[in-house]
Amino acid sequence: MGKKSDIVLIENGKRLDGRKPLEIRDTEMKVGVIPNANGSSYVRFGKTIAIAAVYGPKLLYPKHLQESDRGIIQCRYNMAPFSVDERVRPGTSRRGTEISKVIKLAFEPVLFLENYPKTGIDIYVEIIQADGSTRVTSVNAASLALANAGIPMRDLVVGLSGGKISDTIILDLDGKEDNNSEADVPVAFMPNKKEITLLQMDGQLTNEELKDIIKNVMKNGEIVYKKQIETLKKRYDE
């Protein structure tokens, strides 16, 4: 990453899979896929599939993790061993720990945790198939699962990744673009408040390019947001 590769990722304004630079892959979302969980969801972006489950809020153990004035979020992001071409070693990894942490941070400003002192909310995200942008797919899945669980939220959270290939701004990177682009920028934000809760950058960008990417992500994130609303309401449209 960070340097130009030999693969031509964008030709005549079309990407490898025939998308326009600012086009999002086809998406599929479902809620209530895990009956045992308080809330759950299934989110697919192209070939990336994430399943999220939310348990709680429940009394938190071990006791030293409890906060007496607010609840805490515990998040686990995990990639299934078969989710990519080369087997992922099961268990905790540096990357998994990082993504768990950023998902947790993306949701802390969104939930009314002060209503639930001494408790913990568990978010489990499993990636069963990975093809780029897994962390923003996880954020979308977790957002739906939390709303499905009936946990009070300030807003839904929409995640979408942006990037740059040969001076063109692109959105929703897939696996090949993720590995070979000059930069990729995962963004998660609250669509109604227009506040960003997750922003990371890998690669090199100028100030203007970064601002441009964020602007485009916020604009096109509306599509993902509409899809989330539709998914949540669909369950009650008999």
């Binding site: 009394l59 007496s68 001494k118 709303a147 939220m153 839904l156 109604n192 949540l232």
Partner: protein
């Protein structure tokens, strides 16, 4: 109101537009003079307040709520009660028994044992310390019955306006029913199976208009 019409549903963070000057009630929050929903739920007006009734979610205890709980443990001077909320509830000895008791001599199992079902009232919820009392009216140990759990936010729907729905189920199935605010329903009497069926149907279809007619059809 048409039969089977679906109520308007809002998602978390969605602005609730009513056109009237309403205050932010339960399940909503206010920012910059606009009212937003906290839950995936159904907006409803209560007097000068607008509230959102969540379609799912945990029970948050409030002072004054009448709840049904299951005794899980006996402590030195009270009982631990499971009321299906994120915290454990505690029933202190002083709130349960009127007579003087020397706790060195008396075994508290005499009053409540684990697995007993009690109907009681919440008196304190500060910082996740939920305390119960048996001193309020109607509070007692519930014997010989069946327990059904429903989503706590759907309890008002189960009770209906001035108890219309629950009284109808009681009359038609010849049962005694107690509903806790925490979504635990205790049933005892003749046709328990039919009553459970009706309660489950209410939970499933709480967002539809004309539910009372449907339940009436089921029970007759």
């Amino acid at each position: 109101m048409e039969d089977e019409k679906i109520r308007q549903i809002v998602v978390p963070g969605e602005e609730i537009k009513t056109g009237k000057d309403l205050k932010s009630g339960h399940g909503t929050y206010e920012e910059n003079n606009k009212i937003y929903s906290k839950f995936l739920g159904i907006p409803q007006e209560f007097g000068s307040f607008i509230s959102v009734i969540p379609l799912s979610g945990p029970y948050l205890p409030k002072v004054g709520d009448k709840v049904i709980g299951i005794v899980t443990d006996v402590e030195k001077a009270g009982w631990i009660v499971d009321i299906k909320c994120p915290w454990q509830a505690f029933l202190p000895l002083s709130e349960a028994v009127d007579e003087f008791i020397d706790i060195k001599k008396v075994n508290l199992n005499r009053y409540f044992e684990p697995d007993d079902i009690i109907y009681s009232e919440v008196i304190d919820t500060r910082r996740g310390d939920v305390h119960l009392t048996m001193r309020s009216q109607m509070s007692r140990k519930l014997k010989e019955g069946v327990i059904v759990e429903i989503t706590p936010s759907k309890v008002p729907r189960l009770i209906g306006k001035d108890g219309s729905m629950i009284n109808m189920i009681k009359d038609k199935t010849k049962t005694t029913i107690r509903v806790g605010q925490n979504g635990i329903v205790w049933i005892s009497g003749e046709d328990i199976d039919k009553a459970i069926k009706a309660i489950k149907l209410i939970e499933e279809k709480s967002h539809i208009y004309g539910l009372t007619n449907e339940i009436e059809k089921l029970l007759s």
